[in-house]
Symmetry: C2
Subunit: 254 residues, 2 copies
């Protein structure tokens, strides 16, 4: 697209770390939240991975994703227990030393009395060398950003507070805009004319999303996405005209 | 572990395909369901990926995951519209031809009148050569299994019906058993003795999961996992004794 130089595209991956998500014991609440949040500020989430609390797996995923996308956001594994190995794994992935960070320790001391700041709790102050801290307004123990990797907590309320603190510091791009259109038709009846319109508007992504509601049956929602509002409006008008014609059983012009 | 020969470990990855999940517009409801389901029948989910509706991305993810794990379960992208490219992408990943499958077409005709089985709907009968069909008791359009890749719908009710149909055909392993123990202590107070117990029971995975409840504050749940029930019972007793001592402020023997 000609306007691409003026419209930087900023991409991201989300890396969720935790055996408890993979076992299904805990249902992830962070992916959808982060995805929606980043989309709204002009960062396209292109991939998500969930890996277990195994150093090799975390290192491999961090390195695969940080080379491919503008940002990588991790959640989970930064607490005080032996299974919290995210900070050390990220340091290893980036090849930098890690140790107790005086800034992070000072933050912990704002909430934890000095005589309770035991070795385990001090693990939460382990920060890779050269990282910027991410503030945690809920429980003080910070996350951190190093290069393009942003390490956040797994507890949703804390992750959300960290994302609020982190977001203003991020490189963002031109927002992906979207229009959601209830089709009022079955997917199979809208597929052919929609596919034709996708060819007419190659710069507007057109998705068709089936749903199923008890009592109602199948529903279809069309979602159009583009960074160019004028083109999005044109495509939306074309799709709505197509739907009106299709609902009336009229042959739609190719 | 000595008993590994008698206790096969069967692993899996889940691959969620769909731009709507990555944009946050649709919140995934399948990962947690599949993870819990597979864990219960003796299949360990080791990794999850979410990728967009882009052929290269789907092909790369399918090939990375099918070589690494016993099973790969995909959701999404098998409907009738132009953005439904999962079946073709899986065929490409596996290097096999794909075409309209007479068995799948017959299933579609059980629900769709012949004069409505248009070209778009027939796309739902495109099945890679050599695949076994996965029954869909909700809306007939089948999923399929080819080699160790199991392709299912994205709509949760349909995916769940497919998983019920598929599960009895799967190679499963010895179930991972788990015990969930509310700690009644902060993570930082339980971390040191828990880390020591993890060393005493290297064959029992011990995880500590913090939660945050409005009004209650932080909670800690310990989760112990093993395939060996006797060892799990021993570890559970040891952890409960440790917690009792820690709650009483007693020094815990190393």
């Amino acid at each position: 697209m000609a306007e691409q130089a003026d419209q930087p595209i900023v991409t991201a991956a989300i890396l969720v770390i935790g055996d408890e998500i993979l076992s299904g014991r805990t249902k992830d609440k962070n992916i959808g939240y982060i995805a929606e949040y980043l989309t709204a500020i002009g960062i396209d989430v292109r991939e998500v991975r969930i890996v277990s609390d195994v150093e090799d797996d975390i290192v491999a995923a961090v390195n695969a994703l940080r080379e491919r996308y503008t940002h990588v956001f991790t959640t989970g594994g930064i607490g005080p227990t032996h299974d919290d190995i995210t900070a050390d794994s990220v340091a290893k992935a980036l090849g930098v030393p890690i140790d107790i960070d005086p800034r992070a320790k000072a933050l912990l001391l704002e909430r934890i009395p000095a005589d309770q700041l035991n070795e385990a709790r001090l693990r939460m102050a382990r920060i890779p060398e050269g990282a910027a801290l991410i503030a945690n307004s809920v429980s003080k123990a910070p996350g951190f950003s190093i290069k393009n990797v942003h390490v956040m907590a797994g507890v949703p309320t804390i992750m959300q507070a960290m994302l609020d603190a982190l977001a203003p510091t991020l490189a963002t791009g031109t927002k992906m805009l979207s229009r959601s259109i209830p089709a009022g038709l079955k997917e199979g009846d809208v597929a052919a004319p929609l596919g034709q319109l996708q060819k007419d508007f190659p710069d507007v992504s057109m998705g068709s999303y089936p749903g199923f509601q008890e009592g109602v049956g199948f529903t279809t929602t069309l979602v159009l996405r583009s960074r160019d509002e004028a083109r999005l409006d044109q495509a939306t008008a074309a799709v709505e005209a197509m739907l009106t014609a299709a609902r009336a059983g009229t042959r739609v012009d190719p």
